[in-house]
Symmetry: C2
Subunit: 261 residues, 2 copies
């Protein structure tokens, strides 16, 4: 990571570890367990987990979101070795090369167009015969001489030993298989917040991201959602860190206003 | 600062410097000039400054906010040496001591109550004969045995050479002067965003903070306000840094959707 303000260059794991140790040194206690359900219990919240229950006056959900995966051979093994879900993060590693972009929505075009600053050629692999992206993004993508479009086609395998060397493709109309040499595969087929346990509890957008106000408050007292799991997150580490601080301040205020000290 | 996630302990100046150098290494150019006016000019924005004009397609205002000052002798000189505008930041330095809190609103009570965790005694100095704070905060403050209230009284001077040793007070009813020994003075008489040049351009709250949406967008295309200058900022370094990243992403999207590359 090069874009977390104040820390010029660090890997994500080390940054997370530094944040964890810092918070623990201020008294935060950590339990690494999977939340299975969240239930309102009078003025408190019951958090059911795989290893017991917690009763809390306030809960800040920071469950994040995961990128949707293709689910094809090679994808998991080559992630970080040419398979990427973030062009802003990784496109610069493929200067002058030929890469694939998978997807046909706004994110695919937005990130694809960004990627043209670095690479020589982009093949956009899309399962349908037209894009879902907004008209202006489509126009810009079609006008870009570095971008070519491979329609009605899905990726069936990502090839490579140490790093990506190519993709296997299948045309959904003809059933024909083919392969293409590429140095990287950027996959933009959406993402899903890890918020199954919020279903029915708070309103979400159609993608499942919780609706919150400026203070990360849901419409249920004492329940906050911060970071990628909320609606309209900028999905950056620093914006999620800011969300967390905002939710903590709001929760502290809620506790001190509603419960005896 | 101990509360910027990922950087366990740093002074504010060094953190700002690190962020500046990091952004400049990514190509950001900096001009340190005072903005005097901001005007819409067709699809662009004209930024008038003390040293010339800038024409920009998008402007992100991060002018911040300043705490209101008492404006009394000793205040400026002893800031950071016992004079503080942030109990969360500084209360722990005065463990077991007697401190003054100036103000009668929510912030004064909220921060005062927080401060009771650390200090032995708090004298709340308030210019009126009742608090402006919400009922529940008043109730909690009056119930706290560490808090005493000095009504109808203003601070006329903050005393101390190397560090705060006391305050000079004047009773507004009787005109009587007195002094009180305290180790610190926490001042909570509001804050004002540095947004004079936004007046009439975008809606603000009654304190002058610009109204923005989740993406830091004002209602004027291409004009963003991030950080303490916007409404409902959590006023933390990390939340403002997150706001800035969010505004930058929104501005990039605005530029690429509305202007030729």
């Amino acid at each position: 990571m090069e874009n977390y303000p104040g820390v010029p260059s660090i890997n994500g794991f080390d940054l997370a570890q530094a944040m964890l140790e810092q918070a623990e040194s201020c008294g935060m206690e950590t339990q690494l367990v999977e939340t299975t359900a969240l239930e309102q219990d009078g003025k408190a919240w019951l958090v059911r987990t795989a290893e017991g229950e917690y009763l809390a006056r306030a809960v800040i959900v920071t469950a994040g979101a995961d990128y949707n995966k293709l689910g094809v051979p090679g994808e998991e093994r080559l992630t970080g070795r040419g398979v990427s879900y973030c062009a802003t993060c990784d496109a610069a590693f493929f200067k002058g090369q030929h890469v694939a972009v998978v997807g046909g929505g706004d994110a695919a075009m937005d990130e694809g167009l960004f990627t043209t600053r670095h690479v020589d050629k982009i093949s956009v692999i899309h399962r349908r015969d037209r894009l879902r992206a907004s008209a202006i993004l489509q126009e810009r993508a079609f006008a870009n001489s570095k971008m070519e479009f491979v329609w009605n086609t899905v990726v069936t395998e990502i090839l490579g030993e140490e790093a990506v060397t190519g993709v296997r493709l299948r045309n959904r109309e003809t059933g024909e298989d083919s392969s293409m040499d590429v140095a990287a595969v950027f996959i933009f087929i959406g993402q899903h917040p890890n918020t199954d346990f919020l279903r029915g509890l708070v309103p979400t957008d159609e993608g499942g991201h919780a609706v919150v106000n400026d203070w990360m408050e849901t419409e249920r007292p004492g329940l906050y959602v911060a970071g990628d799991a909320r609606r309209n997150s900028a999905r950056q580490v620093v914006s999620s860190a800011g969300d967390g601080a905002t939710a903590a301040i709001a929760a502290e205020h809620y506790l001190s206003s509603n419960f005896a000290a």
